[in-house]
């Protein structure tokens, strides 16, 4: 079985236990693909360069990043650059022969460009053009399988390659979902809470198994805030062909093995 694990992003998540766990899984003959984001690290670097990250609000009230050309350049510096290097070095030190890839490499993640976005600024509706953002529609699963069969562990991040031949940003949870779908894998999304909580104030109220449409309705009703997006990514993975999708805490000793066991919220 192949496991696709989404790590990192949030500052509260330390990938160290996850990397040791990747090594343990591989020793156990599992194939693993690591996918990571790092939006906060991009903002840190933008600020170190004296620039201000830009967030826009859509007509329906969702706040998202506006990725202009310079921001896209910083994405490439931080994600395939710094973070891929850090994660691959970390895995190599755990005995895992990792290889860092972005969605550009071998057209690993590709799809349509979204350069125009509707936003609301000071109560005015506007069209903002020049956004470097896209929707992943195709995954080069052959490339990942070739590497996995040769004994390598791919470490994947955005940008993706848009159909107009430009590197663009895309959500890392969805990238993990697309990869898990393409490989018919088990998806594990690690985050800083123990799963989807029935009661958001009670960390022991994790919804453990979601295997019916009733349970799925309960799940989507319970998911709030950023968790809504994780549940939607998990749903996309299953629609794309993943075997299962689990949302679980990164902050436990063997977080991936735990999630493949009984930890977290598992949707099938």
């Amino acid at each position: 079985m192949t496991v696709v694990v989404k790590v990192g992003g949030a500052r509260a998540v330390d990938p160290k236990d996850a990397l040791a766990d990747v090594s343990a899984l591989i020793d156990n003959d599992e194939q693993v693909v690591v996918v990571h984001g790092g939006s906060t690290a991009v903002d840190d670097t933008l600020e170190a360069l004296g620039e201000t990250p830009e967030y826009v609000e859509t007509p329906s009230g969702v706040v998202g990043r506006f990725t202009d050309e310079r921001t896209m350049e910083v994405f490439s510096m931080v994600l395939p650059g710094k973070l891929n290097t850090d994660l691959v070095v970390g895995l190599q030190n755990e005995g895992v022969d990792a290889i860092g890839l972005s969605g550009i490499d071998g057209q690993l993640l590709s799809g349509s460009r979204k350069s125009a976005v509707r936003v609301v600024e000071d109560g005015k509706k506007k069209i903002r053009r020049g956004d470097h953002s896209g929707r992943i529609e195709r995954v080069n699963g052959d490339l990942l399988e070739t590497l996995l069969e040769s004994g390598y562990t791919p470490v994947v991040t955005v940008p993706m390659l848009a159909d107009d031949g430009v590197a663009v940003n895309s959500d890392a949870d969805r990238a993990a979902a697309a990869v898990a779908g393409a490989l018919s894998a088990e998806l594990v999304i690690l985050t800083d809470v123990p799963g989807v909580l029935a009661d958001v104030d009670d960390e022991s109220s994790v919804i453990e198994r979601v295997d019916s449409s009733d349970a799925y309705e309960t799940l989507t009703a319970a998911a709030e805030g950023f968790m809504t997006r994780k549940v939607m990514a998990a749903t996309e993975a299953l629609e794309d062909g993943a075997e299962s999708a689990t949302i679980a805490s990164a902050n436990t000793e063997a977080p991936i093995s735990g999630a493949l066991g009984s930890n977290g919220t598992t949707i099938t």
Binding site: T58, P59, S60, V62, G64, R65, K114, A116, V117, R118, K124, K125, K126, I127, R128, R129, S133, R135, N169, S170, D171, D173, R174, T228, R229, M232, A233
Partner: protein, 54 residues
């Protein structure tokens, strides 16, 4: 003042109109994007799907 490119009616513009702004035609209700401001050039505003995970 500018002309709605959908129905031809006059569209009233406020003073501090900005490039990219979307104006609703008071006559036919069309959404018009301000492509240029001096002079004002309008075009039908594109429908853009709003996606959850960008």
């Amino acid at each position: 003042m500018a002309e709605c490119i959908e129905c031809g009616a006059d569209v009233t513009l406020h003073d501090d109109i900005e490039e990219g702004e979307i104006i609703d035609c008071g006559t036919c209700g069309a959404e018009l994007e301000v492509l240029e401001t001096a002079p004002v050039v309008l075009d039908t505003a594109p429908e853009l799907e709003e996606d959850w995970g960008e």
